[in-house]
Point group: D2
């Protein structure tokens, strides 16, 4: 027998003795495998999380209203509104491992400093004027930038302008919550440095391609760079498409340029639990449907198109976010040139050797 079902299983007879046995199990804090194996050990990953799309033009006004009604400060720590996967019972978890939130900071507000085991980043889909201060280093946040606050780095934010700003936070918070690994500590109630330099010290030390400061030869668990600027990302993607035009290998698939953000001390992912990538698809490009173990979150940075999630088409515009739970088939279609930021828990899957990918035959 080798069919994919537990249906014709060998079952115990329902007798008073069996019921008594089950009652005795319960009183001894025991629970049999044979009654729950279908749920616990599925044939393929069967996430409770569901695919879902959040529209930026619905999120942003709610963030604005929070700006009016909810103070930001010590205790609540952040005016961050988490995207709650409809399949996960209302908890602000976009997937079982990932957190995604829109964070909003009004004119001249400060989000106080703290640190935690959870790895975090911010990605900016629009706006500017906020500096995030990471271990004392002020880091400008502008459209298209990826900013890191790896685990146990102090960080706070301040808005130095007269205009509010919102961005996306990504964390491994649900993973940390489920596995009980998180520590948290308050830092300064204000940020420790209100300077607004164009480039952070981390960037000035590290953002030189192929070069490493001789004063920093020890590899670090997370990237020391801190800020990945849009100008570099955009140029890298532009060059990939130009190289493709010249007939050179450069893109991941025809019409599909992509980069991974890396820790320059290792060439690996920026943080131990979170992968971050940026994708650019030429107008009209369609990706082959894929299934991957682990979950991903995408945000449209520019352009419009569709994502097919488990067979259902969802229209996408600037700022829209969607989640792809584990093993759910997905593909993208670019109506215009389509730029997307992506983050995922892939480093967890790869480090623990649970990663698998299935690329389906492309539809014709």
């Amino acid at each position: 027998m080798n069919d994919s079902s537990h249906s014709n299983m060998v079952k115990p007879e329902d007798t008073p003795e069996l019921r008594q046995l089950y009652a005795d199990f319960a009183s001894e804090h025991l629970s049999p495998l044979w009654t729950q194996i279908e749920d616990l050990v599925p044939f393929v990953p069967s996430p409770k999380a569901v695919p879902h799309v959040w529209k930026w033009d619905r999120l942003y006004p709610l963030a604005e209203r929070s700006g009016d009604l909810v103070p930001v400060g010590r205790g609540g720590e952040r005016r961050a509104i988490g995207l709650a996967n409809p399949g996960l019972g209302g908890k602000a978890f976009i997937s079982p491992t990932l957190w995604a939130a829109i964070q909003y900071l009004g004119p001249h507000e400060t989000a106080p400093e703290h640190r935690h085991s959870q790895n975090a980043f911010r990605f900016v889909v629009e706006g500017e004027g906020v500096w995030t201060v990471v271990n004392g280093d002020p880091v400008r946040m502008s459209r298209g930038d990826l900013l890191l606050t790896p685990g146990w780095h102090f960080h706070g934010h301040h808005n130095s302008t007269d205009k509010a700003m919102a961005w996306i936070d990504g964390l491994d918070l649900p993973f940390c919550y489920q596995t009980d690994v998180g520590f948290f500590e308050f830092g300064s109630d204000r940020v420790t440095d209100y300077a607004t330099p164009r480039f952070s010290r981390g960037e000035r030390l590290w953002s030189h391609p192929g070069l490493r400061p001789l004063s920093e030869l020890k590899d670090t668990v997370s990237s020391p760079v801190g800020a990945y600027r849009w100008e570099h990302t955009d140029r890298a993607l532009t060059e990939q498409l130009l190289l493709e035009d010249e007939g050179q290998p450069a893109t991941v698939a025809q019409g599909h340029a992509a980069v991974r953000y890396i820790n320059p001390t290792t060439g690996g992912d920026v943080m131990p639990t979170i992968r971050a990538e940026f994708h650019r698809m030429r107008q009209g490009t369609v990706t082959a449907p894929r299934r991957e173990v682990g979950s991903s979150v995408f945000q449209v940075f520019e352009g419009s198109g569709s994502v097919f999630l488990d067979g259902n088409e969802n229209k996408l515009g600037k700022g829209d976010l969607f989640v792809v739970p584990s093993w759910i088939p997905w593909s993208l279609q670019a109506e215009t040139q389509l730029d997307l930021f992506r983050f995922s828990d892939a480093p967890v899957m790869e480090r623990l050797h649970f990663d698998r990918t299935l690329v389906e035959e492309r539809r014709r």
Copy 2:
């Protein structure tokens, strides 16, 4: 401000507008951080799982009764009774990452072959007569042995004797369940080889200290050894204590010998998510209280003593099992010479850089 409490937090005023905002959040599948930060981002790990001890002399009779009432075969797959942490709502999870069960196989019974992404092992506290067949290689199970069935290895068990046998299964099943990584496949309804050799082929190829077959030079994700025999474990621990007697460094602490089971191709843990160790404490030895990120399960192999879990003493005898959830202080006290098997999710914590340990000053 730097005190360890969220109590004097900045809070929004409870107004109709705020309530409407929260309602609008809910309808858009959003959830604010500021109302749940205490739960989601605790100051130290705050596991839902609780410390708990299961007594072998309560477990074993229940397993025996299952042997009478519950058939073993395709569908239910295993006559395994999971230890359900009282803090985890009745699911058969001993911790958020680990599964521990007592499995029982009657005379001449067979548990059919299957494979799954979940990493598994068996540890034998008493008995003999069962062979587990792992990817076609029959592996004898005897008292004191650790037997591996790493992820995606086919495995089934058969009892070749007239007496029942029970043992402990350990898996990363809860971790896999929470993170949606598991695949499962049926194999043969019987085991593929009913031979009962004293040593498995994997042992004959690999269990020679400091030697590696030249035909097997590629490192493997999990240990290729398959069976770790009691005679080796016992001798290693005996030698450590003798070396200690001779004034040589060998034990982890005075009176406390310990070994880790390893993958000989890398020197690292036997499987990507599970660490396995064996500890021997001289009579009268007390360990310094420790807190560790991640959860552990211990089983007493021989001897008697106590475990202090979060300050509470629990008496231990042969076969008793207990779980230490993340960051719960624990220490052991040996009334007689005390032998314990231990497994944990430490490789997960270390590979993702969440590991932390706090050893408290020893009480005097």
Copy 3:
């Protein structure tokens, strides 16, 4: 006894029997340790190679004269003049592991393509107009650039201008020669691509700080970048000194900025046997005398100063090269701001765990 000398050694008596024994050794291709141990196993590394300085204004005219008298083409392959360590018996080895040469290419000349196991690079102290074509990818060579041709990459050079150009070649050729590891193969008699793009394809794909093409996720033994441009090196060093001015940690020592060229896929050295670095010292800076296992070659890129080699001062000007054999103490003194390129065999020493460094107390 623990003094550092073999002088009062136990010696055999010089008898006819001993002489016969030694003769019998020789006829059986044997050789005793006890007569040569002082040479073979010194107390500290005792290189045959000596420290030496080559003056650019002596090298360059000789390279020019070679341009008139020696054709470049298949067979001789390169118009390269090796720096021959005076201690190494006339072989063109600057150290037992490293090769350094000045290579000269006249107007519109081509050095044909070939490939070899030896790892190579070029560094340009002055001039422009040559493109090196590496595995078909044309790479511009300009002042301050480091250009790689890792082992077994096809490469040829062509001068696309009306002016000659010279530069420095660095290789692990002596190491490969001593250990018999080298393979060599001819390629095209011309270069395969005479295009003269500003940036090579490798740079366009890889020279974006903190970003990795998703099409190139496999780590490579040598850096895929190919060209490290002066503008990046200069900016990295400038920023380090500015950060030092701001009181931030950034330099290796006060007044001493430095970068290592790295393979972005790993964060490690650019090639398995060769380390490359660039150092900038503020006017007046003096480095602490150091001894290091392994040999290094420096070239002054700009400025003037001195190097103290085994206690002897040597004046340095633009283009001058010097070698530091293993364990010879060296220190640098900057008369003006002093910019130096450095390469060494440090990766060999580190990968085989022979690396040691001794930094002497700074003279006051």
Copy 4:
């Protein structure tokens, strides 16, 4: 053009000006590539070392005579007679990277303690009665054992019996000599511990298959085991051949069992520069001719057969040694069951990515 010859090379015209140029090169310590490229950059490795066989029945009597004529003690340090490759000009180097010597210790003699950067081992083809004391740990030396003294470990030897003993020393001494990496230090003039335990402390701590002491979790550059006993090697080889008989994959080729000695903390080679293996061939087995980058030394442990070195057959008996220089084709033929110990510089080649192997079609 792509033929494998430098013959039709472009050559400069032999003129007075060229001769003057060459003279000027010499006076400036320069040396052109184009006149020596054939020697420096060969098409395939062209070792100066030659294949050679040393007969044990010629070596041993010479060692005995040394025992009579040459004292052992501080200064000469060891009564070791190096095998001098006939192609390497009389230096006691068996290859450019490796040293092999027969060492002889008379009844109750002591070879004093010292340490050096060079990695060393001893292999015992016959005899017993000597203990080597490594960092204070006495290690019994018996037939078939491999004993390590990794770089910078203090070591001395003493013969506790009334009979002389001889064995083989292997080191990376020539490599260290060529690359100037060696340090040396005297230790005690006697050995620090004259105890004669059956098992060293290192073995008692480490020689348990698949187990690692919890007190020793840090990986070490070289193996902590120290002694690899014949009984384990023999059993591993025996099992491989039995598994082959059962139709199971276990041997490297039909009739050819082999193991590599490994560092249990990493699964890798025992020392950073030296690989050690043991091979057993069934009677009649012939290996496919191979070429490998790097050099190897073999010693026949038991049995008789032939080695074909660069096409020439050499008869082999117990104790005979032979060297295979880089890229020289070799194959073995077993007249009886043939047991061989092998060591090589393969870790150097692999860590620096110069390794290549060419297995020729087996002759029919």
